[in-house]
Amino acid sequence: MAGNNPNSTPMNLTLKVWRQKNAKTPGQLVTYKVNDISPDMSFLEMFDVLNEDLLRQGQEPIAFDHDCREGICGMCSMYINGRAHGPEKGTTTCQLHMRKFKDGDTIVVEPWRANAFTVHKDLSVDRSALDRIQQAGGYVSVNTGGVPDANEIPIPKSIADKAFDAATCIQCGACVAACKNASAMLFLSAKVSQLAMLPQGKVERKTRVENMLAQHDAEGFGSCTNIGACAAECPVGISLENIAMLNREYIAAKVTSENIV
């Protein structure tokens, strides 16, 4: 926290923050001044300072999503100076530190924008559309019974690594926020490939990709046009290779599945 580093000079910043009462009311950018911000603070801690100031002044604090503040839960979601999760690569908003900004900077903070996401309030965004895509097929059905031996099914290390890389997706929605088309295909592709690469997931691979893409489209997300902004802004580095795999899975499923509706 502030004062830990003797060389850190506190910063004074101007914030332009999106304020919106609820999903139905139109919002606007409101300007705030925050003073004596330590460069060692995280971006969310800076918001805590601002909110304490607002509470002292009897004003409504700014609503924003956060939970673990360790970069693993995927809850935080701010569009900072025109970038999802701010200017730092491979970082969630909670892991973005104020040392990445300069004294006197003006920082514009907006919520994720996509029609499939709705703004609850201020910077807090409803991303349950991603949950519904996941529920449409992002799982492996397991029958009850004894626990199988962990080494019973051999999986090559390289495949296990790739599946794990895809599984690191924290479902924050930065890919949607950064995409010009508001497409959720990086998210969707991570979920589809993670399971399609493993023997346990191959069983339901055809229905999975068909149902998950149908849900993705029904939620009103756009289509991927291979711009690559999603992968560039992804805090956990999900690769575009997953989208190619999603396309392969989809083509193969549509050509060979027995689903004719």
Binding site: N115, L240, E241
Partner: protein
């Protein structure tokens, strides 16, 4: 709708059609460029006009012309409907957005580049195709319709030369993204081959478009 039309109208299905037709149109560009290189042969257009006669009378080429038209229509229609869907997926825009930090300009503006190319295509068809089919056109020494003379005339106007060169720049930018993007859409992404596909796409886009742009410049400055 059947499973087939449903699949092709999904977000992946539509871009598959854009990718396949896009690669087909790339193959057309190669044929068109190689044929038109005969404009540079120093024979007052005899070879070029003979080639024009062949292209307008060979039954196989005539059939391919219809497939080419279908390719263009599908590519434009599918890309247009995808773009409209994608634009309507975000109705409130960001007050501050810095996409240049995470992606290439051409990849984000394929619709704009495609529109420039489409307008060029209409002018281009008017300049040559319609004049050849419906216009009054003289014969060359070998007795073939003298499309070469039409070409020389068109490229004596600086505005046509400028339009053609600018359009070829737009086409090059369109292809630099589109060529490699088509392979990604078809699911062909591999550590070994993707870097080669990207490099070849870059090379292909520059060479093809520079080749086409050289034609109006040649007639305007050197002929």
């Amino acid at each position: 709708m059947s499973w087939f039309t449903k699949a092709l109208s999904s977000t992946i299905g539509r871009k598959l059609l854009v990718a396949i037709t896009g690669l087909f149109l790339c193959s057309f560009l190669v044929v068109h460029l190689i044929g038109n290189l005969q404009l540079f042969s120093n024979d007052e257009g005899v070879a070029f006009n003979a080639y024009t006669y062949f292209m307008t009378h060979n039954p196989l080429i005539r059939a391919m012309e219809i497939i080419l038209l279908i390719g263009f229509v599908l590519h434009i229609y599918e890309a247009w409907s995808l773009t409209r869907r994608n634009q309507s997926a975000r109705s409130v825009q960001y007050a501050v957005n810095r996409p240049e930090e995470n992606s290439a300009w051409s990849s984000r503006n394929m619709g704009l580049l495609g529109t420039v190319i489409f307008i060029f295509l209409l002018v281009h068809l008017y300049n040559f195709y319609f004049k050849l089919k419906f216009g009054e056109i003289g014969l060359d020494t070998a007795g073939n319709k003298n499309l070469y003379a039409i070409t020389v005339e068109a490229f004596s106007h600086w505005w046509y030369v400028a339009l053609y060169v600018i359009s070829m720049v737009a086409l090059a930018l369109h292809l630099i993204h589109g060529f490699q993007s088509a392979f990604q859409t078809l699911g062909l992404n591999h550590k070994k081959y993707t870097p080669a596909i990207k490099a070849f796409g870059y090379f292909f886009s520059i060479v093809v478009c520079a080749g086409f742009a050289a034609m109006p410049l040649y007639f305007f400055f050197l002929y």
